[in-house]
């Protein structure tokens, strides 16, 4: 059923016969002297990335192993899932350290990280010294006021429902198979936070068991991240400040009203300035793939209390119109089309973008 095509860097699995290329690819790479592994699939619309060197100094190498939820197997025989958990084998129960990588539109990565490299792509020529504004870690020349504070309402603790397969057959579920979700694992729970809801609210403040986290998604930059919302021991929630840095959401914490940058993942202004966001690893993929990865999937209840029709995208056409950028950019890099989705990894301040077409 499966044919492996092997090369020193890439392993490709032939697609099953679903009509969509569901093959999974592993790329082993090195950035800033750190060995990393990326596993993903263009058809399944996911890429995740991990460090290959374990805390005990062991350096692993990986091959594809598409027995979902397992996506790869290492040279010692451990099978790993998309969250980097050892599922079976000698390191079962262990976890790979995720990079702080996430997906987003190319233009946002290019404007946010000067000199970003493209994996197997042409080098950047941009060298801009961004001078931070007083009281900020970034230049406010590239910050725009999109709306007032909380003009876009974050959701606090929405109900989570078990997905009923019947919903799929009836085909009236608010999330369709090819729609993207941001998958989070907490303990043994796997919960899907769909773009369909995040397009409208941008932030979901969640609590699952004793974990407090915020799912943050910026529809303008296509970037999804999950942050711990326990900061210095204080549980808080994040809201939408209405500010945009290179078009990217600037969340604020309701504890200190400090402003944060989603893509640079730290506090840029306020009493917590300079504080790094603690991130949760996420698997952003299609609803179809998520259902294949995890049985009995759970997902946000669309009855959020807000009168939104979540089957409708509020910014219809934005994701595919490469020419439409709503707010000023520090730099417009034309090496790729602006709205092409890439997976970006940043290590020691150096960024590299991985195209979905590489997977």
């Amino acid at each position: 059923m499966v044919v492996l095509l092997f090369s020193c860097k890439k392993e490709i699995i032939e697609a099953p016969t679903s009509g969509i290329d569901e093959s999974i690819t592993v790329i082993q790479d090195e950035l800033e002297n750190e060995k990393i592994v990326l596993v993903g699939s263009e058809g399944r619309n996911f890429i995740v990335s991990f460090f290959r060197t374990l805390s005990d100094g062991t350096e692993l190498t990986f091959e594809v192993n598409p027995e979902l939820p397992v996506v790869m197997i290492d040279n010692e025989g451990t099978k790993w899932d998309a969250f980097g958990y050892g599922i079976e084998g000698p390191r079962a129960g262990q976890r790979l350290q995720p990079t702080r990588g996430y997906n987003g539109f190319w233009f946002s990565w290019a404007s946010m990280y000067q000199g970003i490299e493209i994996y197997e792509g042409t080098p950047s020529t941009w060298q801009l010294e961004e001078t931070p504004s007083t009281g900020w870690t970034i230049s406010t020349e590239f910050v725009a006021i999109g709306a007032g504070i909380d003009a876009i309402q974050a959701i606090d603790n929405p109900a989570i429902i078990d997905f009923n397969v019947k919903d799929n057959f009836q085909n009236d579920f608010y999330v369709q198979d090819e729609d993207l979700i941001i998958g989070v694992r907490v303990g043994d729970e796997y919960i899907a936070y769909p773009h369909a809801i995040l397009n409208w609210h941008e932030i979901i403040n969640a609590q699952i068991a004793n974990k407090y986290f915020s799912v943050i998604y910026c529809p303008l930059t296509g970037t999804g991240t999950v942050w711990d919302r326990k900061i210095d021991g204080q549980v808080t929630t994040f809201g939408v400040s209405g500010l945009l840095y290179n078009n990217n959401i600037i969340p604020y914490d309701r504890w200190t009203a400090s402003n944060w940058t989603q893509m640079k993942q730290h506090c840029v202004n306020g009493s917590l300035i300079g504080t790094e966001a603690e991130t949760f690893s996420v698997v952003e993929t299609t609803w179809r793939t998520w259902k294949q990865m995890y049985n009995q999937p759970r997902i946000v209840d669309p009855s959020t209390g807000y009168g939104r029709d979540y089957s409708i995208h509020p910014y219809e056409g934005y994701e595919t119109n490469h020419d439409l950028i709503n707010y000023p950019l520090a730099y417009d890099d034309d090496r790729l089309q602006r709205k092409e989705r890439v997976h970006g990894v940043v290590i020691n301040g150096k960024a590299r973008a991985y195209r979905f077409s590489s997977f």
Binding site: S133, T140, E141, F142, V143, A144, I145, G146, A147, G148, I149, D150, A151, I152, Q153, G239, G242, L243, N269, Y306, G307, R308, D309, I312, P314, Y315, E316, Y318, N321, D323, L324, I325, N326, Y327, P328, L329, A330, D332
Partner: protein
């Protein structure tokens, strides 16, 4: 004494949401007697607290926006057929969060754009009267306003000035003595057409959308110690999307249907007051937009004839 001045729809576009508010301006004659000068002071207030995605209303509304516009108009009757007018506005805009009472509102105010317009009495025979107007608004208003707390540049829609040159076109038809000697029918078409672009930060080029309005309605006059002119108009407004780097913006453009009710009081040949309220009926908007829940305009006019004054002196 009659009201004149620019249709206020030209003012409303200077700040706030796409295409301005429901106001389509007063429909009274804009042609002054020769050598007559008129000054008009106006204040308009609009509350935006209904949120729409296309034609669907969204609940709850997460924000309110108030827009007040103070305007000053001066006009001069050049001849029996020509009147020239100039108008300047001062918009004040405030946006509040409905969900975070501790948050500071966004407040943006400043001098708006200067508009110049020439009115021509194109046709006046028996009961029919046609007035046409052509004008221009200049990008004299503030476009670099920053939030005081953060020193961050406000978005283009919050700026008091449009930043662009705009062509203003109006055609107004009046049918006098409609069913009574004091009744009249009015119909007006206006176009507000940006003819330049606005270079914002970096390579960000902005152009507000074209706005077209059509208004029609009835007016009646009752005479006592003062003239009392009540009126009712139906207004249709179509706004094209704002353009950002040549691309149609996400949350702008749409069409609105509204009803306006109001009256004018003429105290003498020199002074008059007009009050108009706007009632939104339907709308279909692109993307997610705040829309008006209520709006009114209050106008005060004072007119004097420079010719007769000089005659009196003699």
């Amino acid at each position: 004494m009659l009201f004149l001045g620019l249709p206020l729809s030209f003012l409303w576009g200077q700040a706030c949401c796409t295409g301005g508010n429901l106001g389509t301006g007063n429909l009274q004659s804009t042609i002054l007697e020769p050598q007559t000068t008129s000054f008009l002071v106006g204040v308009g207030h609009t509350r935006y607290n209904r949120l729409f995605h296309k034609s669907k209303r969204i609940y709850p509304v997460d924000r309110d926006r108030d827009l007040s516009i103070f305007s000053f108009t001066g006009a001069y009757g050049i001849s029996k057929k020509w009147t020239v007018a100039a108008q300047i506005a001062y918009p004040l805009q405030r946006e509040f969060s409905n969900t975070n009472s501790e948050s500071k509102p966004l407040i943006a105010s400043g001098i708006g754009d200067l508009s110049l317009i020439l009115h021509h009495l194109t046709h006046a025979k028996r009961k029919n009267k046609l007035t046409s107007s052509i004008g221009i608004s200049l990008p004299t208003g503030q476009t670099k306003l920053r939030d005081e707390a953060t020193d961050i540049l406000y978005s283009t829609v919050l700026q008091p000035g449009k930043g662009t040159w705009n062509a203003l076109l109006v055609a107004k038809y009046e049918r006098l003595q409609l069913y009574r000697p004091t009744s009249s029918l009015l119909a007006q078409i206006t176009a507000n057409l940006p003819i330049s672009k606005y270079q914002a930060a970096n390579s960000f080029v902005y152009q507000p959308g074209k706005v077209l309005t059509f208004t029609t309605g009835l007016r009646e006059r009752f005479s006592r110690k003062v003239f009392f002119d009540p009126f009712i108009y139906l207004n249709f407004k179509y706004s094209f999307e704002d353009r950002i780097n040549e691309q149609a913006g996400l949350n702008s453009g749409g069409h609105w249907l509204s009803l306006s009710l109001g009256f004018q009081l003429l105290f003498s040949q020199r002074t008059s007051v007009q009050l108009i309220s706007y009632l939104p009926l339907t709308q279909n908007l692109k993307g997610i937009q705040l829309s008006e829940s209520s709006s009114f305009e209050l106008l005060f006019a004072y007119t004097f004839n420079t010719k007769s004054k000089s005659n009196d002196t003699k």
